[in-house]
Symmetry: C2
Subunit: 190 residues, 2 copies
Amino acid sequence: MNVKTLCLGALTLGDASGYEIRKLFEEGSFAHFYDASYGSIYPALGQLLDEGLVSVTEMVQDRRPAKKIYHLTNDGLQVFKEALAERPVRDKLRSENIVRLFFAEYLTEDSLQAVFDGYLHDFKAMSERLRSIDRSCLTAGRAFTCGMGLASYESIAAYLETNRESFFRSVDAAIQVSASPDSHQKKDES
Amino acid sequence: MNVKTLCLGALTLGDASGYEIRKLFEEGSFAHFYDASYGSIYPALGQLLDEGLVSVTEMVQDRRPAKKIYHLTNDGLQVFKEALAERPVRDKLRSENIVRLFFAEYLTEDSLQAVFDGYLHDFKAMSERLRSIDRSCLTAGRAFTCGMGLASYESIAAYLETNRESFFRSVDAAIQVSASPDSHQKKDES
DNA sequence: GGGGCCATGTAACCCGTTACATGATTGA
DNA sequence: TCAATCATGTAACGGGTTACATGGCCCC
């Protein structure tokens, strides 16, 4: 799945400009399962236009830059449905935060705390955002994925909070041990 | 963070070949927060060798292709620590599965069920794998991230299972409504 | 006056995936 | 016999990010 397909999907929710689609990825309904930047969205919309999968209307605004409102065509909807019908690839998570928690013993205590608390803060913020959505006026799919995001964010936030103390204690303990003179597992290099 | 850095991290866990590092991403400790393929791992190891961040020993084996065992140098460990000290970027999830659940009404019932059950199966398998790990012999960071992965996978699997019925019911209901003759929100295209 | 938001777009670059190339051994 | 596992590597290609380029309005 690429940004072009995601743009088609975004337009099934209603006509939108490239700027508005970007917001959808950044803080809207797509935020918890995909990301895309202007540098990919604008070229994608241009290509979709060339292929006739979207149409565009220029909206000149008062006291605002002109907007290009994109609209999904029937062809575009068909192409989107076909793309959805393909078998999905495995979810891919890339978490630099988890990498840092995994290698906690190679960070200073300050760095580790910054990572930990920043990470916890992210999950709380995302939970908050999802919790504030009124799911009763959403389609089945949107409500379901919203609830799923909420369930996973809340469980991670809870895990982080309940295990914070013991985690820092055991990292500390490990660092004490490795700093003592009788434990040099790492030998000299060639 | 790139594959080169992750390879350095992998080697802090012990000497390994490119093939073994790949397994770490595929089914080992890294599997639930990063991914990388041979096409990125082998070139990465080659570059790290040029830069003196790893050393290599060729192991000729009986009845097996020769192995190149890579070993982290002191320089490599330093570089890895410095990379970890940088501020992590936001976690990035790319989930084609969630995209499909989000747009459930554009899938056939069969496709949707295949996606749903495949997704649930993935989470159960990953939970199973993490649950089978004996955390008592892991470092603090590894045990903690293992527990975190388990908490999130289990909560998602539970969410999927408990909401399966009602989800399919409401998707069905929506499709019935949109198929009835008096609901054509989507108008003709230019 | 300065930062942030609105708004679009391009180009260079990075990086990783996919597919290809090779080949032996082991177990069903 | 056929698939899977072990084992390394390259090259073409795709795709997205970052940074650059531009500019006005609004609020503090």
